[in-house]
Each structure stands twice: as structure tokens, then as C-alpha cells.
Amino acid sequence: MTSRLDLLQGTLDLLILRTLRGDPMHGWAVSERIQQISQDVLQVNQGSLYPALHRIEQQGLIRSEWGVSELGRRAKFYQITATGRRRLEQESEDWARFSAAVGRVLRLA
């Protein structure tokens, strides 16, 4: 198996929401966090990260604010909204069911 997986369509949104469940973060930190936690298995392509961030912001799942980063530079921080949290719960559940089902099929079929 290769060490890196391309992200399934749509799962990026879910990962971003999960990553943002805690403190506000800027775009770079989001991509770093996803990479770290997945132990470098999941590589986030910048070309899809920013459009995805802007898209789910438009959908009202996250909101953004300009703040000052750890380097003292102007950076855009994203934060999950209440709607975003509800969506995250819903989609995490769906994902768990989906992956469990796929796993069962792979084991038993």
C-alpha cells in the first residue's frame, strides 16, 4: 500500500470541520493538522483546501476572522459554527456507518 491516500470527494469538508472543532485555525494549520494526525497518510492538496474552506464558509458551516498569527503576521482564522457542529456530528455518524459497512463487506463477502 502506498503511504499517501488521495482524499475521497467530499471527505475533505468533513476533515476540515473535525479539525476546526477545537480552537480557530488558519488554512496552513488545518492542512498540517490533517497531515499530522493521519500520520502523513492523508495529504491535503492546497489547490482543493482553500476552495473547500471558502465553500463551507459560504455554506455557513464555518466562519472566518482576520487575526494575528504566531509569527505576528496577518492571517485568516477559521472557526466552526453551531451549524457546522451539527453537520459534523451528522456526517461523522454517517461516515462511521459507511466505513463499518464497507469493512463488514470486505471481511465477510
Binding site: Q46, E57, G60
Partner: protein, 872 residues
């Protein structure tokens, strides 16, 4: 979507530069963080940055994807396109100006026509529930229409399946202070049914119209109150005299209400006053006068359903007639607008709408050609855009935005032009109308409403699409392969489309010019038409029967009067009545008029055989007849008409023709028209004897001296002696002019339309040929360097123009011929094949297209071969 989301989108549109800066900053920050990570891992600063960039991929592409997320992207692009277009127009202001003016002209004229169409046909009366209003009459077994009598109307009010309510009315034209007053006698529920309140005082109430002969009150229209009484509010409680009857003014109707007639009413009077004011009595116990009836259909009832319900009602209710006059069907026509939108209206308006629509089409074709030429000139620019990755759709959108930016200012300018056109049109209408007819016409206020506005914007957008889309599609067609080689020229030369546009323009132009020519010739012919009688120096009067004897006596004794004659139908006004002849006579129906013996002398209509009516015959309606020469020829061939018998197939009783059922011919007069100038004087016409004293007949008075002076003198003398006795007093020549009026207006309109069409075609051909010459500069250069002389070059260009002109000419002439034939089948006075109209018109178009070609041709001869060959 959250409100916040919407806000950020809208903000993104208007604060585009800020959104762009944020986007840039965000990407930048990411790169810096990534580079820092690499530096922490031990890379040199430059290498770290390069690696971060490589990992990121195309920053611009990511930005583009992020931008696409914004929902109002198209709006941003629209503003962007608009800015680009504006810059382009600023560079070529003459082009932009020409396009805007051309479209504004086409759109403005069409808006003017639409405004009139809207005011008369589309805009409902300002009353309660106008959609449910319908006129009601019924038809008998033979197809004649009948109105309800008042007792029948009462039955209808009490119980009928279709109308929730209905009112009865009779119309009247009287004179007050020398001016015609349009009045209406109405039942008491008129105002309450229509939901029209007063602006002053009160409206008519049911109590006003209860007792025949009582209810001498009136309600003025707001327009009449302002026009005649200067908006004086002390008018309430005053008395005005109409037809010699004093009426108490009790109120002024709501502003904007003028009744349900195409000519607005000035005042309303209770129906109970009708007979006291000289109308047939609707309350007569034996022969009640018929009423006009307008009903308000019950909710949820369609016109068809109401019609069939009323047919059943009429059949079961009206049973007391002779078998042939029993009802066969009810006849309902919507009364929602001044002129109902029915097939007949469409047929009348269609030529006008089509002619003006064609002008707009011409304008669009012109502009399309200009845009096409511009698109070609911009091939290089468009080619570069395409090779830089712009999609075709995006470029087409850009070009359409340009079209729209030209169309919207054109719509605004067109609005001004339409106001001017309406103003000029109304002025022309009144200028062309005989003076004593002008007060009869009141133009409904032609103001802009939502429909007109929608028409303008719709027209502008439609024309933008028409003139923008074809060029846009064509211009964005260069192949990438070519442009990659640095050749931005377009392989595809849309000469076919361009030529088709020019041919179509010339075709339309020929049709419009030929139509104008036919109208001009027909109008001239009509003016030269010999009506068969002398209409000069004749004053024509319509008087009240109550004062008839005194007025006739006064006229006979008046020093300015030479002869007093009478006629049942005005000699030239509308179609005479006609009667069917007994079977076997060879002619189906004949027109008739009942005239006094003096009629023939007053109108200088000589009796060429036999004799005139004798006074005794006139006084006691002896069954004798005078026929025209053509009538005699048609009925009896070469036999002597004197002593022949005219047998009429008329009802046994109740008709004015009853005494003349079997009439002996005593005389023959020269051919004369039967009331309508448009019809030939050879149509069959029979005269029967009558006197000026008979009720309802018109007076025809030959005067001495200047006829207008005589008219005024007679008017004031009679009015002084017998106030309110005259309903109309006009010159007979004015009736002639009034009859020629529609044709004159048609001629004027078609001339204006034809002239504008010619102008547009001229500029269209000029534009296209100029462009072609510019395109063929190199070819012309080669020809000239190979020895072609100037004449050959001019011929080259002119040939191109002439070929298009001849094609358009052929098609246009055929269409025009077919059209005039179709119209002529409806109107006899239209000339079908008028050589003058069909040769001068097209010749004019050909001459115009050659003139338009001349200047580009001359420019072609100035091509310097060396310079032309060095191009590119």
C-alpha cells in the same frame, strides 16, 4: 443559506478589490508558513520558499477556484465586462453613438405604437372588475342583431344565469356652447355596478332613474368638469342646459373615469330623461326603444359559458316576435378595454405593428452588421483572449454585455423619441382632421405604464440579443492552431450572413416603400374621386325632432339659404342603409336613401331621364323611386327604366321602407356614391321621396356666400331662437375630408415608416460596403498593380451592391404585390397593381443603394497598390 453568507457574497461583489487582497494575503501567508516549516527543517531560505511554491502548485489557479465559490461571480464578471465595454466605446465613440441612435429610433417608434395599442386595447377601464364586463345583444334567425328593450332588460336584471348585474344605456351627442358633448343615459345602478365614486358631490343613484320624465340631474366626468367648467367646484347645484333641458349638476365622477366607450363620455343622465331630451322612449308602453346592455359576468364564468347560458335565456325569454325574428343566439363581446382584443382588431392593427416591427428589425440588422464588422476588426484581440485560455462562453458573454450596454441607453433615448413621436402623431392627427370634427376626437391619455415599460426593456434586450448574438458567435470562432502560429485572422468570413442581412434589409425597404407608394396613390385617387355630386357650399344639420318644424321654417326663410333639402342618410358619412330586392331581379341588395325633391338640386345631381319627385309624393310617401344610371343598367339592361318597378323584400310593418315596397321608377340620375367615397359610384342606389319635416332626417342646406360664414350665422341665429335644437352643424365638405382622413393618416404613417426604412437601408449598405472595401484592400491592390483601372475597381464594388440590391428588389416586390392584393380584397379603393408605386419605389431603393455604394467605391479607387500589398 445564512444571512451572513448572503452578506459576504454581496460584499464580495462590491468590495471586489478587498476580497481579492484577502485572497492574495491568505495564499501568501500559507506559502510563508510552509517555507518556515522547511527552514526549521534546515533548508536555506530561498530553497525553502521555492519548495513551498512547488508544493502549492499554481497559486493563480487556486485563487480562481476559490473565487468560483462566490455565488455572485457572474455579477462581478458582468461589471468587469461592462468596464471593458465602456473602455471600448470610449475608444470608438462614433460607433457607439451610431448604434445607440439606430436602435433608439427603431425602439422609440415601436414604443409609440405600443403605447397607443396599450392605451386602447390592453389597458382595462379603471372600474371594478373590468375583466367581467361584456356587451350583450342577440341575433335572430336571419342573423340580424337586436338589443334588449327596457322591459326585457328588467327581466334580465331580475333573473339571468350569466350576469351578476347589468346596466342599460343609450348614447347621445348634444351641443353645449357650440361644442359637442358626449352624453350617456344610464340606468340608476350604473355607477354602483362599476364601483365608480364621485370626486365631488354624488354619483347617480337608483332613485334618480325611477320615474319616466323625472330625474333631471347629471353627473359630469372629471375631464369635462376641468375642460369645460375650469374645475370650478361651485358647479354642484348649478343648472346646465343640454338640448334645451335644464339639468341639475349633482356631482363630478372620479378622476380618470370616462365611461366604457372608446370616446370618453362627458356626462351621464338618468335613463328616465331620454325621451324628454329627444331620444326614442325606452319607457314607451307600445314600442319601447332598445337599450345597450353591459353586464358583469358572475365570478368563475368564462365568456363562452356566459354566452351559451344567455343564448338559452334569450330563447326562452323573448318569444313575442314573428318567427323569423326569434332569437337564435346571444352575442357577448368583452368590454374590458376601449377596443376589444378580438380577431378584427388584430387584423386592423397588424399592418401597423408589422410595419413598425420591420423598422426595428432593419435597425437591428444594421447594428448586427456593424457589430459583425467590429467583431472582425477585433479578431486579433479575441484570438489572444482565446489562446490565453478564455472560454468561448465567457467571450460570448462579454460581447453580449457590450450589446446590452448599447441597448439600454438606446431604450432610454428611445423613450424620449417615443414621447416625441406620440406628441407629433397626435398633432398630425388633429392637423389633418377637419376643424369641426376635431372636438369629436379625444385621445385617451397616452401615458407610460408597467406594460409600456416592460415592452421597452423587453424590446431593448431582445434587440440586444438579435444584434449581438450572431456577431458574438461568429467572432469567437478562430481556431487555436492558427492563433498559436501568431495568425489571429479568422478563417471564417461571414460574408454570407452579412449579405443575407443586406438582402433582407433591401427586401423590407422595398416592401415598406412600395406600401407607402400605394397608400399615396390611393389617397390621391380618393381625393380626386368624383363623388357624383357637388358637396361645396352645403351645410349639413342634425336637429332635434321637437324643434324640427320651426327650424326648417327658419332655414327656409333665412337670407343666406338657397335651398333646404333633406336626406335620411347623410350623403357622405357612412354606408347607406340597404334593402334586399325581391328574388329574380338580378341584383341582391340595393343601397337606398329617402330624400326630398330639393336634394337633387341642392347637390347638383341632375335628373337625366324622367322627372324629379313631386312635392305631393314627398309629403305622402307615394311609392315612386329615382335610380342611378348604373342601377338602371344593372336591373333592366337597355330597357327604358321609367315605369319599371322596384320590388323590395322588406318587413310588412315597422320599417321606413314599408311604404315603398313596390315603387315605380319616375326618374334616373347620374351615378353617385352611396355614402362611402371608397366604394364606386356605380354600386346600385335607389332614392325614395321624403320631406325635411319627417322625424330623424338630416337637413342639407345650400347656402349663399362664404359657406363657413353662413354656417356660423345659421348656427347662432337658430340657437338664439330655439336653444338646444341643433345637435350637429357642419360643412358637407368636412364629411368628405373626414372620410379621406384614415387614408391620409395611413399615407402619412407609411411615408414616415418608408422614409426611415430607406435611411436605415442606406446607412446599412454604406456600412457593409465600407467594411468589404477595407477587407478587400489587398485584393484591390493586387488587381490594380496587375493593371485594373479605376473604372474596373468601382465596377467591382458597385457590382457587389447591385447584386444584393437586385435580389432584395425581386423578393421585396413579390411580397409587396402579394400584400397589396390581400389588402385590396378588403378595401376596394386600394390599388392592387399601381405601376407608378411599383416602379418609382423600387427605383428609389436601387438609387439609394447605388449612392450608398458610391463612397466606399471611391475609397477603393484610392487604394495605393504598394501600401496595400505591404499590409501584414
Amino acid at each position: 443559506m445564512t444571512t451572513r453568507g448572503w452578506f459576504s457574497r454581496i460584499r464580495a461583489v462590491f468590495a471586489r478589490s478587498r476580497a481579492e487582497r484577502d485572497l492574495h494575503d491568505e495564499m501568501d501567508f500559507h506559502l510563508i508558513m510552509q517555507a518556515k516549516k522547511h527552514m526549521d527543517a534546515g533548508l536555506a531560505k530561498a530553497d525553502a520558499l521555492a519548495r513551498a511554491r512547488a508544493e502549492f502548485g499554481s497559486v493563480e489557479l487556486t485563487k480562481e477556484d476559490a473565487r468560483d465559490v462566490r455565488a455572485f461571480r457572474w455579477l462581478e464578471e458582468f461589471f468587469q465586462d461592462a468596464r471593458v465595454a465602456a473602455r471600448g466605446f470610449a475608444r470608438a465613440p462614433l460607433f457607439a453613438l451610431t448604434v445607440i441612435l439606430t436602435i433608439a429610433l427603431g425602439l422609440g417608434l415601436n414604443t409609440a405604437v405600443f403605447t397607443a395599442f396599450d392605451a386602447y386595447i390592453l389597458r382595462p377601464f379603471a372600474v371594478r372588475n373590468p375583466h367581467a364586463l361584456a356587451d350583450f345583444v342577440w341575433r335572430d334567425q336571419r342573423g340580424f342583431t337586436h338589443a334588449l328593450t327596457r322591459p326585457e332588460y328588467q327581466l334580465m336584471q331580475r333573473d339571468n344565469p350569466a350576469f351578476a348585474e347589468s346596466f342599460g344605456y343609450m348614447n347621445m351627442v348634444a351641443r353645449v356652447g357650440g361644442q359637442p358633448v358626449f352624453g350617456q343615459f344610464v340606468t340608476g345602478n350604473y355607477f354602483s355596478m362599476l364601483g365608480v365614486g364621485p370626486s365631488l358631490g354624488r354619483t347617480l343613484q337608483p332613485e334618480d332613474a325611477l320615474i319616466p320624465g323625472a330625474g333631471a340631474v347629471t353627473v359630469l366626468s372629471h375631464a369635462a368638469w376641468e375642460g369645460r367648467f375650469a374645475g370650478d367646484s361651485s358647479i354642484i347645484g348649478r343648472t346646465i342646459v343640454v338640448r334645451g333641458v335644464p339639468l341639475l349638476v349633482v356631482g363630478v365622477a372620479r378622476d380618470g373615469f370616462g365611461g366604457l366607450e372608446s370616446r370618453a363620455r362627458d356626462l351621464w343622465i338618468p335613463l328616465t330623461m331620454a325621451s324628454a331630451m329627444g331620444l326614442p322612449d325606452p319607457f314607451d308602453a307600445v314600442a319601447p326603444a332598445p337599450l345597450g346592455v353591459v353586464g358583469q359576468m358572475r365570478a368563475s364564468l368564462t365568456l363562452d359559458a356566459a354566452r351559451s347560458a344567455l343564448t338559452a335565456w334569450t330563447r326562452s325569454t323573448i318569444t313575442d316576435r314573428p318567427p323569423k325574428e326569434l332569437p337564435s343566439s346571444a352575442w357577448l363581446v368583452t368590454r374590458e378595454t376601449p377596443i376589444p382584443l378580438v380577431g378584427e382588431t388584430v387584423v386592423i392593427f397588424a399592418p401597423i405593428v408589422v410595419a413598425f416591427g420591420l423598422v426595428l428589425l432593419l435597425a437591428c440588422a444594421n447594428v448586427a452588421n456593424m457589430m459583425l464588422a467590429r467583431g472582425m476588426a477585433r479578431q486579433r484581440e479575441i484570438g489572444i483572449c482565446l489562446s490565453l485560455g478564455a472560454t468561448r462562453g465567457r467571450l460570448i458573454r462579454q460581447l453580449l454585455t457590450e450589446s446590452l450596454m448599447l441597448a439600454l441607453p438606446a431604450a432610454a433615448l428611445g423613450f424620449l423619441i417615443s414621447s416625441a413621436a406620440i406628441d407629433g402623431g397626435v398633432r398630425l392627427l388633429f392637423a389633418a382632421l377637419p376643424a369641426n370634427f376635431a372636438p369629436l376626437i379625444r385621445i385617451v391619455p397616452l401615458h407610460t405604464d408597467v406594460r409600456v415599460f416592460a415592452f421597452m426593456i423587453g424590446g431593448a434586450v431582445a434587440s440586444a440579443l438579435l444584434f449581438g448574438l450572431a456577431p458574438a458567435l461568429q467572432a469567437t470562432r478562430p481556431s487555436i492552431v492558427q492563433t498559436a502560429r501568431g495568425n489571429f485572422d479568422n478563417e471564417f468570413r461571414p460574408s454570407r450572413l452579412r449579405n443575407a442581412l443586406v438582402v433582407a434589409q433591401i427586401t423590407i425597404c422595398v416592401v415598406l416603400i412600395a406600401a407607402a407608394g400605394v397608400m399615396l396613390r390611393s389617397s390621391a385617387k380618393l381625393q380626386q374621386t368624383d363623388s357624383g355630386m357637388r358637396t361645396h357650399d352645403i351645410v349639413h344639420l342634425v336637429i332635434q325632432d321637437r324643434h324640427r318644424a320651426e327650424v326648417v321654417a327658419a332655414l327656409r326663410a333665412h337670407p343666406l339659404v338657397e335651398t333646404v333639402a333633406s336626406a335620411r342618410s347623410t350623403p357622405i358619412d357612412a354606408l347607406f342603409g340597404s334593402a334586399p330586392l325581391a328574388p329574380g331581379s338580378g341584383v341582391g341588395r340595393v343601397a337606398f336613401n329617402i330624400v326630398s325633391p330639393e336634394y337633387f338640386t341642392a347637390l347638383e345631381l341632375p335628373v337625366v331621364r324622367g322627372r324629379n319627385f313631386l312635392p305631393d309624393e314627398a309629403a305622402s310617401s307615394v311609392p315612386v323611386a329615382i335610380v342611378t344610371e348604373s342601377t338602371a343598367r344593372k336591373l333592366w339592361g337597355s330597357n327604358d327604366p321609367i315605369g319599371q318597378i322596384v320590388r323590395l323584400e322588406t318587413p310588412a310593418t315597422g320599417s321606413v321602407l314599408t311604404p315603398f315596397k313596390t315603387a315605380h321608377v319616375v326618374g334616373v340620375v347620374r351615378d353617385v356614391v352611396s355614402g362611402v367615397l371608397y366604394d364606386p359610384p356605380t354600386n346600385p342606389l335607389v332614392f325614395f321621396p321624403g320631406t325635411p319635416e319627417a322625424p330623424g332626417v338630416r337637413l342639407i342646406v345650400r347656402t349663399r356666400g362664404a359657406v363657413e360664414t353662413a354656417r356660423r350665422t345659421l348656427d347662432s341665429d337658430i340657437e338664439r331662437a330655439m336653444p338646444g335644437s341643433i345637435d350637429q352643424i357642419r360643412l358637407l365638405d368636412e364629411y368628405v375630408a373626414a372620410q379621406a382622413f384614415p387614408m391620409r393618416i395611413a399615407y402619412w404613417i407609411s411615408s414616415v415608416v418608408g422614409g426611415i426604412a430607406l435611411l436605415l437601408t442606406l446607412s446599412g449598405i454604406y456600412g457593409v460596403l465600407s467594411y468589404i472595401v477595407a477587407q478587400r484592400t489587398r485584393e484591390i491592390g493586387i488587381r490594380m498593380s496587375l493593371g485594373a483601372d479605376r473604372r474596373a475597381v468601382v465596377a467591382l464594388v458597385l457590382r457587389q451592391s447591385a447584386r444584393l440590391a437586385l435580389m432584395g428588389l425581386a423578393i421585396g416586390s413579390l411580397i409587396a404585390l402579394a400584400l397589396t392584393r390581400a389588402i385590396a380584397s378588403e378595401l376596394q379603393s386600394i390599388l392592387t397593381f399601381d405601376l407608378a408605386a411599383f416602379s418609382v419605389g423600387p427605383a428609389l431603393v436601387v438609387a439609394a443603394s447605388l449612392i450608398a455604394a458610391f463612397f466606399p467605391a471611391r475609397r477603393a479607387t484610392r487604394v495605393e497598390p504598394i501600401i496595400a500589398l505591404r499590409q501584414d
